[in-house]
Symmetry: C2
Subunit: 168 residues, 2 copies
DNA sequence: AGCGGTTTTGTAATATTATATCAATATTGG
DNA sequence: CCAATATTGATATAATATTACAAAACCGCT
C-alpha cells in the first residue's frame, strides 16, 4: 500500500456562472508545467484538444472533438483526436469516463490520481472527487482479498444538487 | 438514503478448480426465480446467452457471445445478442464492465445492487464485491455535496492473489 | 547549418461496439 | 380463437476506436 493518497481535494459541482475561462487557463498552464516536468511535448494539436475538452464540464465524446477540430483543421481524422487523447490521458491531463465513452478535463493534473466522478444524469455535468475515504475503502477491501490495486474507476450516476432543486 | 444495502456478500476470486458447473446451474436457477418473480420471460435465447456469459468468470464481449451463439443458431445477429444482454442487465442477471465493454454474470441477482468489481489484468478474471464500506463511502461523499446517487460503477484494476504469487 | 535518430502528424483503411427500423412470429389474457 | 403485446428476424447503419505506413517536424549532436 505504498501509494500516494490524494489530499481530499474537492472540485464540487461548478456553479452555473463560475469564471470558466479561469478553469481553461488554469488547465492549460498546469498542462504546460506537467509536460515540461516530464519532458513531454505539449504540441499545438494536443493543446487545442485539451482546450476543446475543457469547453465545458460535461464529458465530450471523441467524435464531437473531431467535428469541432475539423472546423479549424480540415484534415483532422480519428487518429488525430485519439492520439491527442492518449497523450492527455497518459499525462493525467484528462480522464476518460468509461460509462459514457467520453472525456473530461482533470482539475488536479499535477498530482497523480485515479478520478472519482459524480455524473449528473439530468444536466450532464461531471464533478471530480479526490476522496480518500472511497479510495481507502476500495484499497482496504481489495487488500483483504489479496488483490493488488493498480487503478480504479469510480463513476457515480445521480442528480446534482442544483438539478435536484429544480422541478422534476 | 433509503436504499437497500447489500449484506457484505463476498464472491472472492474463484479458485482455479472450483466446481464451475455449479456456478452456472445456480445462476440459471436464480434467473428462473427472478424472471418468475418479475413476470419476465426467460426465453431460450436469453437463457442460452446467460449460459454463454457464464462460460467463465472472465467478462465476455458482445461479439464474442455472438460468434459463439452463431455456432448453434446461424441466424443470430447483433440485435439478437444485444437484446438478450439488455434483458439480462435489466433483470440484474449480469453486469456490464464499463472499462472493458464486456459482460459478466452476477453472482447475487436476487438482491438488487450495484456491482463493484476486482478485475485482474493478468488473468482477466473478475470478482464481484458487495461491499458496504465502499458503497457507504460513495454515498456519504456524494451526500456531502448534495448529490443524490442513483447508481454507481466501481471497477478496480490490479493483480489477483493467485496471479500475484506466480512469477512475474 | 547539416545529419541521423526519434517523435509526431497525415492519410487511408479497417476493426469493434452498438442501435434503428420494420416485418414476421410467438405468447398471453380474455 | 382473437386481439393486444412481446419477442425475434433481418437489414442497414451509427458510433467508437485502432492499424499501418508514409511524410514531416523536432531534437541532440557535431
Ligand atoms: Zn469551469
Ligand atoms: Zn483528476
Ligand atoms: Zn465458477
Ligand atoms: Zn452482481
Amino acid at each position: 500500500m505504498a501509494q500516494a493518497r490524494n489530499t481530499n481535494v474537492i472540485s464540487a459541482f461548478p456553479t452555473r456562472r463560475h469564471n470558466h475561462g479561469r478553469c481553461v487557463s488554469t488547465a492549460i498552464e498546469s498542462a504546460e508545467r506537467v509536460s515540461e516536468a516530464r519532458g513531454a511535448r505539449f504540441t499545438a494539436i494536443r493543446r487545442r484538444v485539451l482546450e476543446l475538452v475543457w469547453a465545458s464540464h460535461e464529458p465530450v465524446a471523441a467524435y464531437e472533438l473531431l467535428d469541432r477540430l475539423k472546423l479549424e483543421k480540415s484534415n483532422a481524422t480519428p487518429p488525430t483526436i485519439y492520439r491527442a487523447l492518449e497523450f492527455l490521458l497518459e499525462n493525467g491531463l484528462i480522464h476518460r469516463i468509461e460509462s459514457l465513452n467520453a472525456y473530461v478535463g482533470c482539475g488536479n493534473p499535477e498530482n497523480e490520481h485515479n478520478g472519482q466522478f459524480l455524473i449528473c444524469t439530468r444536466c450532464g455535468v461531471v464533478a471530480e472527487l479526490g476522496c480518500d475515504s472511497i479510495d481507502g475503502a476500495v484499497r482496504e477491501r481489495a487488500g483483504e482479498l489479496g488483490f493488488t490495486v493498480e487503478s480504479h474507476t469510480v463513476e457515480i450516476q445521480g442528480i446534482c444538487e442544483s438539478c435536484g432543486k429544480t422541478t422534476r
